[in-house]
Symmetry: C2
Subunit: 397 residues, 2 copies
Amino acid sequence: MQVRDCIVSAPGKAILHGEHAVVHGKVALAVSLNLRSYLQLKATTNGKVSINLPNIDTFLCWDSNELKRLISDSGGRREEGKLLDAELVRRLREFVGVTNGNLDTRNMATLSFLYIYMSIFGSGELPSMTVSVWSELPTGAGLGSSAAYSVCLSAALLCASGAIPAPLKEWDHTARWCQEDLELINSWAFQGEMIIHGNPSGVDNAVGTWGGMLRFLAGKIIPLSRVPLLRILLTNTKVPRSTKVLVARVKDKINKFPTIMIPVLDSVDAISCTCERVLSEMTCEPITGEHYNILEELIDINQHHLNVMGVGHPALDTLCRVTLARGLHSKLTGAGGGGCGITLLRPETDSFVVQSTAQDLRDCGFDCWETSIGGPGVQQHSPVSVKEEVLEILNKY
Amino acid sequence: MQVRDCIVSAPGKAILHGEHAVVHGKVALAVSLNLRSYLQLKATTNGKVSINLPNIDTFLCWDSNELKRLISDSGGRREEGKLLDAELVRRLREFVGVTNGNLDTRNMATLSFLYIYMSIFGSGELPSMTVSVWSELPTGAGLGSSAAYSVCLSAALLCASGAIPAPLKEWDHTARWCQEDLELINSWAFQGEMIIHGNPSGVDNAVGTWGGMLRFLAGKIIPLSRVPLLRILLTNTKVPRSTKVLVARVKDKINKFPTIMIPVLDSVDAISCTCERVLSEMTCEPITGEHYNILEELIDINQHHLNVMGVGHPALDTLCRVTLARGLHSKLTGAGGGGCGITLLRPETDSFVVQSTAQDLRDCGFDCWETSIGGPGVQQHSPVSVKEEVLEILNKY
């Protein structure tokens, strides 16, 4: 069995507003982050299955017959009501050598690939192929790099298996799948996320699949039809933090000062709703400076609220101060306590200002990227539509 | 008629929590600030009435007969339902040369003195005296310096007139008046404030009179029985600001983002109530580090909320950052947009830390005083209970 080659990409995600508040039943807005993961699938005829993940220095190759032996006699059927095939997961964990506590990124990425590959192709012949993934996203920074990876895997393998068509026409540079196919990609990507994270919210894979912006409320994920593309700087302070500790800190503060903190959550909820309304207005009326003024005010207010919740950090204060000195507004994104922040750029923000600000931030020891939010979700690429340097990396293997 | 000499003092005021929110029907906590105004009244026999206000470079002297002629035939009676004798105010403005728009501090201080002096003594002989006032408070910084002045004037002149007794016994260093006398002092001080400010809230003169802490809600002022004395640093950033502009800015922001801002006001209200409860606990149970931890958390949260309201300033951010680097927590007090801030000191805060922090702040170009909040209101002093340097200034005239 020979499959078709393809190149796909999926975006990362950032939380625009509502991080932490979402844990307490408030709205959060998740947006696609146009730092993307790229996957190239190449059919081979050597009976081997290879995966190359240069970001995490992982290069593995298996004999497809060896893999075939891992498929259970039950034919990979899932237990009633369970999304994952527990027996396949157990066998793969044993095969890869994952002991229970060992949640190493490389092992998780390997497991996730093998699980999706074998679930999709398991009932027939296992095709030989080389899958290479390169991501512009830093890993473990809360930017949805694992989801972008899972989404790319799902899209490419479903496409290779013929479960969904390849949307790219001869004359296209990039193409997207229809709604029904996206739902299938998303559901497989969610399984990949379950392998990697155990109990994911489903937001990251949904953003990777649909792109744009998602409204997330009480476990329900609603993709928003139209949002403008916003230029941003993404900054990684590189201050390590534990999401679990930060979530617990906010909870403790709410329990300690309920009358003070509950209104703050309500205010964050209103910020998310106001932001959603303004972004939607920006897609159906001429964009004005006042739209951007409001977006900036919402960023500032939310950043103060996040500090009130106790998830700020001196490095994030520095980010805000350094960018404000250039007239730009920033907030943390995600768990806080360090980690990443986003800085809104206005359409008229001069590229000199952007470059200087990025340099200022790098001088603080931070990583900084000029990118955008609200861009497309998973898509298929013709080789010419992939940046030279990315293509070079993918073609190395 | 010869009156008795006396020395009195009254404290300034700071807003501990609730500035701006109070304008929108929320609780504010006003506390006495132990930077005091001192007044010395000396009886003379030269038929002259002299006032010396070295802080504002004002030294005036009148013939008491000349002043007597300004008393209206109606004997200084107020119009029905009016607190001030409008005819006396009119004549004094003309006498002092205050044209309508001229709200110069010196003229206002002079008017206020003459109004209280002539209202209290007007029905009989005008006694000759020299009144000298020296204040540790900066003027025009929102710290209630005019109210402390009016409270001192009222207490000293009422005492000199015999309307209230001199509470100081031979063996006392300082003494306070009984509740009834304080109410009379406060009502005259409020008239002084009306002369100076037009439409004062009454909070500043109430704090100057009662000291400690006052709860202010919807125009109602409730002195709180017992509060602990808290050490603070008071910092004047010396950034000029207009209270009127700042109040309007907050109002505009509430109108622009009601769903976001109203919860913030609710949160500030809860901060004031929580702070009041903690301070009251500190007077009836052993004071612990946790009490101070909570006071610090409330300060931090409120400072963020004030930034959300748009009344922060880079100089205030600097104050917070510089003090936090020494483990101390600060917030703006009063109108914000510059102006003053308070920094809470813990009982165990080492004097080296206090001195170094104060020096750091002075290096930023700020004025900085180590003082306390929650101390006594207006009091009478024996000369030995007045600091040497203050006595020296008062005795110069």
